[in-house]
């Protein structure tokens, strides 16, 4: 546990020691603010639903960007070797990395709170959907971070990790947009694995076990793949 915390802490700080955290957080907030506030006043309704919608869209790009270096960069520079030959298990390394990015992601989410408070000051805000919305963002974040981590574990090139993670993430986003074009038999399955299907419900304020489990499973599976991939270096 201590090891996971130590690795996570180092990872988290390394974001803020370099420019990555500032760029990603700033761009996310700027784009989010621009997209959201532009239409907010036309709607004449005090709701944060659109903000969650835009945030989840940005995540498909932002999270691959912050996860791309997790293992790829350590592999490229060789620091992975020092890290792993300390008394830690591979699982602790993977989980530590995961928690480290999660920390950055939580900071990103926290920084959107001023938007929510602004909305609340402008009208009667229903806090239920806000809570569910954040919960949905958290779940989606877990899944996307997992995917990014897994992609980063297969290569020592950050760009490859980024585009692989982006492709997979966008696949999960787009898949239900092409539903009518897909074979009828596959439609229920494709609809189920689409991130938006589950996020929509959450944005409406419905927290269901089914959606929670879906995202947790994706995250878990991805982390497992990353773990296996890291472990495979021993035998290859």
């Amino acid at each position: 546990m201590t090891n996971i915390r130590t690795i996570a802490g180092r990872q988290f700080r390394s974001y803020f020691n370099g420019p990555i955290a500032y760029i990603v957080v700033a761009v996310t907030l700027l784009v989010l603010g621009f997209l959201f506030w532009q239409t907010f006043f036309l709607q004449q309704r005090a709701t944060a639903r659109e903000m969650f919608n835009y945030f989840s869209l940005i995540n498909y790009f932002a999270l691959p960007a912050v996860t791309m270096g997790l293992l790829a960069e350590e592999k490229r520079t060789g620091t992975i070797e020092l890290l792993i030959t300390m008394p830690v298990t591979d699982a602790q390394v993977i989980l530590g990395k995961f928690v480290g990015v999660l920390g950055l992601y939580l900071v990103m989410m926290l920084l959107t709170l001023p938007y929510v408070f602004s909305i609340a000051s402008l009208g009667e805000l229903d806090w239920g959907p806000v809570f569910a919305g954040y919960f949905g963002l958290l779940l989606q974040g877990l899944a996307l971070i997992g995917i990014g981590l897994a992609c980063s574990s297969f290569t020592d090139n950050q760009l490859i990790a980024f585009f692989a993670a982006l492709a997979i993430s966008v696949f999960f986003f787009l898949i239900d947009k092409f539903l009518p074009l897909m074979p009828r038999g596959l439609q229920p399955l494709l609809e189920f694995i689409s991130f938006d299907t589950h996020l929509d419900l959450l944005r409406r304020g419905v927290i269901a076990v089914r959606d929670t489990l879906f995202f947790l499973s994706v995250a878990g599976l991805a982390v497992l793949i990353a773990f296996r991939s890291l472990e495979s270096r021993r035998w290859s």
């Binding site: 070797e81 008394p87 290859s236």
Partner: protein
């Protein structure tokens, strides 16, 4: 319980079709500094990665401080400090931050951690850069940070992969001192392809080539294993300018295996490299041959083959080459050696300029084992001093005991 800190049994590792390591076994006892020597790609790094549990061997096993790499990898990792090749560090961190991170990973917190970091920093003289970002540091300082991180938990075993590569002579010297210091109380394995390194730092040398262990000896023994010395004979050119006759005369001396002409340093001189077939001293016989044959001996110098030659033999030959270097190979090797010697001479000129007194002393100690003597002939004084000049030149030049290539250069 054996006294072995590190025990490797039949280690093998194959990457797909390629065998990187084949049945390598060795033991390292407490307090020993072991040099792991071999050309690039011979399997040094692979062995070290196995010993540190970064990768698993495909066959065989190893244990460190009683912990098996398969059964107790955490135990192994607790017992070792590791410095991988090219010193990978988190360059965006401050030195102190990084060492704190390492201490925490090793399970030390609070004052205990601070004490350990302080000690490691003192040992590696990192004090002045402790608040700097690692990326701003010179290669030498980075290397020290790498060593410091390996020392924080005061491990009984240190595994250092190419700790000197990429350092300038001064930095290398500092790191060398440091490793020697560390090696007094710990077991150290260090890999290198620098032979001078091994002679100065190591108690024992393993030479590995193409994944196989080809030698396991002390540096002195290894040099002796190469057995025979060779002789550098300088004679005055006779009137006909005919070196054939002298060459034949030298070749006829009992115990001489082979005579090869060498480029002369000065006009009117002829230089021959004489290889004996046994390890008996041939200087008397050679001198006698000069007297009998009526040619003038300007210089006669005995040299034992350097570790360098042994290394080359062991790692390029089919196997136990040191006994006999085949004639076919010789010419190709000569060319290679010549190129190497040229490069070396350049390096060494640079190195020599930077060398401080200490090192010179050390080198001298080593050199004394090389049994270099120059026998003045009964010819005129000028040329006699000439030849001894020559010899002392060699002496200071050749801190890698690279006698062979030095000679061939000339």
């Amino acid at each position: 319980m054996s006294n072995a800190m590190i025990e490797a049994r039949d280690l093998s590792k194959s990457y797909g079709q390629v065998d990187a390591l084949k049945d390598v076994s060795f033991e390292v006892s407490r307090g020993e500094v072991l040099g792991f020597l071999g050309p690039n790609g011979a399997g040094k790094t692979t062995t070290m990665k196995i010993l540190t549990c970064f990768i698993a061997p495909s066959g065989g096993t190893a244990s460190i401080n009683g912990a098996d790499v398969f059964e107790d990898p955490m135990g192994v990792r607790r017992s070792i400090g590791y410095l991988p090749e090219s010193t990978p560090l988190y360059t965006e961190m401050l030195v102190i931050e990084y060492l704190e991170f390492v201490a925490k990973m090793r399970g030390y917190t609070g004052t205990d951690a601070r004490k350990r970091i302080k000690k490691a920093v003192e040992q590696t003289s990192l004090g002045e850069v402790i608040a700097k970002e690692i990326r701003q540091l010179s290669k030498g300082f980075r290397q020290r940070v790498g060593l410091a991180q390996a020392l924080v938990h005061e491990p009984p075993v240190l595994i250092l992969d190419e700790p000197m590569s990429g350092l300038d002579p001064n930095q290398a010297q500092e790191i060398r001192e440091l490793i020697k210091e560390i090696g007094r109380e710990r077991t150290v394995i260090l890999s290198t392809h620098d032979l001078g390194e091994v002679q100065v730092t190591c108690d024992r040398v393993l030479i590995i080539s193409k994944g196989k262990l080809v030698a396991d000896d002390s540096p002195e023994e290894l040099r002796e294993r190469s057995g025979k010395a060779s002789y550098r004979v300088t004679v005055a050119e006779d009137d006909e300018g005919d070196d054939k006759r002298i060459r034949d005369l030298l070749g006829k001396v009992e115990g001489v295996d082979r005579v090869r002409p060498r480029t002369a340093d000065a006009k009117g001189e002829l230089i021959f490299a004489v290889s004996p077939s046994s390890s008996d001293d041939l200087r008397r016989e050679l001198f006698q041959a000069a007297v009998d044959g009526g040619f003038v001996l300007l210089g006669l110098e005995k040299k034992s083959e350097g570790l360098d030659a042994v290394f080359r033999d062991l790692t390029t030959g089919e196997g136990d080459a040191p006994k006999k270097r085949s004639k076919k190979k010789a010419s190709a090797e000569d060319k290679k050696a010549e190129a190497r010697a040229k490069k070396k001479a350049r390096d060494e000129a640079k190195k020599k300029a930077d060398e401080d007194e200490d090192e010179a002393e050390e080198e001298d100690e080593l050199e004394s084992q090389e049994d270099e003597t120059s026998t003045d002939s009964d010819s005129d004084d000028d040329s006699a001093s000439d030849s001894s000049d020559d010899a002392s030149d060699d002496d200071s030049d050749d801190d890698d005991s690279d006698d062979d290539s030095e000679k061939e250069k000339k």
